[in-house]
Amino acid sequence: MSLDKTEVQKIAWLARLSIDEQDISTYSDELSNILGLVESMNSVDTNGISPIAHPLDLTARLRSDAITEINQREQFQKNAPLTDAGCYLVPKVIE
């Protein structure tokens, strides 16, 4: 299976990656190789084998419902390019 140019562009858009036009064919080859690997795995008979959700054969340890965090807004917002009235600011997004 191989990916064409528009598919590569769509995947890049979904991940919000900016890619150079000249690199598309390289990406296309590399991604197609990965899909090829998946395809060869697909040929293995996996009937009766339950899918793994996680590579470690462990189950989750849960935490109790307690408040353990304090307000560190000031410190966190030092990293933000823009803040106002306690809010993080971003370019206007309107639906």
């Binding site: 959700a53 989750a60 353990t68 009235a85 809010c87 370019p91 997004v93």
Partner: protein, 482 residues
Amino acid sequence: MEWETVIGLEIHAQLATKSKIFSGAPTAYGAEPNTQACAVDLGLPGVLPVLNEQVVLMAIKFGLAIDAEIPERSIFARKNYFYPDLPKGYQISQFELPIVSRGNLEIQLEDGTTKTVGVTRAHLEEDAGKSMHEGFGDQTGIDLNRAGTPLLEIVSEPDMRNAKEAVAYMKKIHSIVRYLEICDGNMQEGSFRCDANVSMRPKGQEEFGTRTELKNINSFRFVEQAINIEIERQIDILEDGGKITQETRLFDPDKNETRSMRSKEEANDYRYFPDPDLLPVQIEAELIEKIRSELPELPNAKKQRFIDQFKLSDYDSGVLTAQKEIADYFETCVSTAEGEAKLSANWIAGELSASLNKESKDITESPVSAEMLGGMIKRIKDDTISGKIAKQVFEAMWNGEGDADSIIESKGLKQVTDTGAIEILVDDVITNSPDQVAQYQAAPEEKQGKLIGYFVGQIMKQSQGKANPKQVNELLKEKLKS
């Protein structure tokens, strides 16, 4: 052509935990922006989510309440999309192996019949933050306090056929999550919200039509309105030979219309995959049984018990058990009123709920407590006051003038049950109304019942409503005979 509507609902219930689903930050509503958003909620590098035990227990409770299966294993997935109020670039949700699988719910329709609605699944996920587009110039302000708040998304089967059924279903879920005390159900604060999928098909056709999704409807009334408007819109398009576009639409209650949000076909490519940060959740059968044994009495069971125990009608019992707090109020009221169930039910569904509605108050905010109302009903029952005087007493209690006994005492509202005193009043009226007496005595028996009302009215006026109406009636009949 005759059309059939097909509706499915996705309800988001915010789980009433103290801390977030994957972090120890608080979930309290209304805090200063970003004061409850910790490093995990902000998606800062190097943090790891750790699942809150309480949300798992709450989800299981819900599953058991709708007779659903709770799978032994449950996993979390990343739902990938970009929006500024989602700092990680993905929402942790569940895709395969949700915590609650197929369940069922019985809803009561207006004509009194019941209908079973299937629940496809219910899964856990984290809420996003809030975007504010006003007040920041050409910027959008982001408050991430809500990011990471636990949600249970309850997905129904497309089993509903009109807006009223959808509302009945939504109310039932609302009632159940409140009974279970897993969600406060506050729709203004967004703790309970709903998306509706609506499609039309020619009656008799098996295959579903193309659906639209109505987003974020935050009241029962709006659900009904939004769905009905959307049904009309779709029928108009279909009858004109047009096609429905699969899209997300927003309901605008001010304009009473639904309108298209940006077409989401591409944005809907969420590329779910299991979240490598979170291990599968293992749910032991013993835990499920323990939770099952601790489930509270649920609306349907309570309703049946009220019918059996208090001899209430199906309707009254349904009204009283729709909200757990009302049911609790009723039971306290009845026990204070020495078992007077029917009067208690009438007062709660009548005077009390009218007064609450007028001031937009919830029963938990009622100035008249269940004990106070029960105390007043006890005085109706033992003939201290009549039902009519009770309205005065109720009003005084509502206005904070004290409990029933002190109001009856201070206002001198005690009913006159002394036969001698009533007899004087009766004799007076008879002497002063010779014409009416003649008319009464000349009338055939079936008309006398109506004519006697005049005398009763006069006596009640004389006694300022305090004469016992039953005694007045009996004495009058007796005296007017001759």
